[in-house]
């Protein structure tokens, strides 16, 4: 089944009748052919593919819903020259040209570029970045069905690249070289595309990849830093970022000063803090910066038992402090035992036990030391007793 694509299309359509095949059949044959090409060297079939003008027209047909005469073969040639694909990172090297991609993606693949492979330490990142870029391109172009302008620009680019047979041959040569280079099939090759009119040596390509990464990160930072939309350019952005980070650090310092001046006899009511102060207040104040994902997808626990669990876990964990023993004596003995079991179970459910939890109960002890009041922990205790009873029953 190692036929060239035009042959397969001919088989479908019969001699001389290229337009009778449905679009779907063409696509299917193309996909099949692409699969085949993965195993073969692309090189031999490249010329055939380039010569087949009808394949490209099919793709354009899909996008624009209109039949047009054809720079289609250039589209086709670019399809065959896809280099990186988000799905097949591992097979990047062996797949010189034939990539598994959907017809729509193929059509929107970047046009007029030559593929170039090279090695890098952070290969996976780079492949991902390049793949991301490609995926973004593909997605954006697939979605813009009515965006003929994009397609026309692609067309012009393809026209420029492959109108002349000389260009095609040179590109075929380079592709042949590249495919030969890909003979050394190592998994850490990265496919980088050189745009038309840009240098194709490894250094400039590496530079381009680096620059693209940096610009991508800068865009992300631009979203993070508030009020950064007006500033453009790297220098201004960096200034804004530096100012923002400095202001945040200054705020931390100021707040630490404020906390230091607060009465050090800190009445820690952790329950109240967590329940009332921090999270509702923070949910109101927090912009959607880092915590948005955490806030919007919270693990909805049963709140009251959870709070009580937190409190009583802090209370029950360490058994060694005298204060805790004093507190425990206030509780009836038979209840205290199931409470420990309850705590062990709930604790593992809630969060992994860590040393700070033992100290959380020191917190309460601190408070009880200062206040010598059992009334404070009584509320969580009653809650925990109820909860423990529930646990016992279940």
């Amino acid at each position: 089944m190692n036929r060239a694509l035009p042959e397969m299309l001919h088989c479908l359509s019969g001699p001389g009748n290229g337009t009778d095949i449905t679009v779907l059949e063409r696509q299917r044959t193309r996909v099949k052919w692409q699969h085949q090409e993965q195993q073969n060297y692309f090189v031999g079939n490249f010329q055939d593919l380039v010569g087949d003008g009808r394949c490209g027209s099919v793709l354009r047909h899909v996008v624009t819903h209109s039949v047009k005469p054809d720079p289609g073969f250039e589209m086709n040639s670019t399809i065959t020259r896809t280099s990186s694909c988000p799905h097949t990172e591992a097979q990047v090297a062996p797949e010189a040209k034939g990539k598994v991609s959907e017809p729509a993606e193929k059509m929107s693949s970047t046009v007029g570029r030559e593929s170039y492979k090279k090695r890098k330490a952070d290969k996976v990142q780079n492949t991902k970045v390049v793949a991301e870029d490609d995926a973004k391109d593909k997605r954006s172009k697939v979605c813009a069905e009515e965006g003929e302008s994009k397609i026309t620009t692609e067309q012009t680019r393809t026209k420029n690249t492959t109108t002349h047979p000389n260009n095609r041959e040179t590109s075929a040569d380079t592709s042949r070289e590249n495919s030969k280079a890909s003979e050394v099939q190592k998994p850490d090759y990265i496919h980088v595309r050189a745009r038309r009119g840009q240098a194709t040596d490894s250094h400039s390509l590496a530079e381009r990849v680096r620059r693209e990464k940096i610009s991508e990160r800068m865009k992300y930072l631009q979203d993070l830093v508030p009020g950064c939309n007006k500033v453009t350019g790297k220098a201004g952005m960096l200034d804004e970022i530096i100012n923002y980070v400095q202001s945040l650090q200054r705020q931390v310092e100021f707040l630490s000063m404020k906390l230091a001046t607060v009465n050090p006899r800190l009445d820690f009511n952790i329950e109240d803090l967590f329940a009332k102060e921090i999270f509702p207040a923070c949910s109101a104040n927090f912009p959607t910066i880092g915590s948005s994902s955490e806030m919007t997808n919270p693990a909805y626990l049963q709140i009251n038992p959870a709070q009580q669990m937190v409190a009583c876990c802090g209370l029950e964990m360490g058994v060694n402090t005298p204060d805790l023993m004093a507190l425990r004596r206030t509780i009836s003995a038979p209840v205290s035992l199931p409470e420990t079991y309850f705590d062990a179970s709930c604790f593992t459910q809630l969060q992994p036990p860590s040393t700070w939890d033992a100290d959380l109960q020191n917190l309460f002890n601190l408070d009880s030391n200062q206040g010598r009041s059992i009334s404070f922990p009584s509320q969580p205790f009653t809650g925990s007793i109820e909860a423990s009873n529930l646990k016992m029953e279940t």
């Binding site: 990160r217 220098a235 707040l255 906390l259 329940a275 104040n285 806030m295 009251n304 700070w356």
Partner: protein
């Protein structure tokens, strides 16, 4: 007691940081009043609180990020050095390591950014920007949590 309908994510960075920080704050009990002035006391305490905040944030993030690792390392070495000095009163020369990176980027701003972000001196531009982004989000949560705590105690 606890208002209903409040969702609590026990695994979020914010809760982790909040708990660690509150715990650290609680540990700082009222010290025996030193003979030094109140201002100095406040200053030292605020410094401790600041360090506790950064430490708890770095711990909440864990070792996943380069900046948190760098920050933890820095704080630990500082603590060790502090202890050494207290115990042995040994003089240690501060060695300044000058690591020059690729000077192609904007020199002044990149340098500043490297100084701001912990661990930024040895990063290339790309990862520096990434770490800056993450560091900024963590700083923002830190500030908000500290703000609410301060507000709570100011009442």
């Amino acid at each position: 007691m606890t208002p209903k309908g409040v969702s609590l994510n026990p695994n979020s960075r914010k809760t982790k940081f909040a708990r660690r920080f509150i715990f650290a704050l609680s540990r700082m009990r009222n010290p025996i009043p030193v003979s030094s002035s109140i201002e100095e006391e406040v200053r030292t305490r605020s410094h401790k609180i600041k360090i506790a905040a950064y430490l708890s944030m770095a711990r909440a993030v864990g070792s996943r990020r380069a900046w948190s690792r760098a920050l933890l390392f820095k704080l630990r070495t500082r603590a060790r050095r502090h202890n050494m000095i207290i115990r042995r009163r040994s003089f240690r020369l501060k060695k300044k390591r000058i690591i020059k990176n690729d000077p192609q980027g904007e020199p002044s701003q990149t340098k500043k950014l490297r100084q701001l972000v912990p661990g930024g001196k040895t990063m290339d531009m790309c990862s520096l920007l990434e770490e800056t982004a993450h560091y900024m989000t963590c700083l923002a949560t830190q500030v908000k949590v500290m703000q609410t705590i301060a507000d709570h105690f100011a009442k």
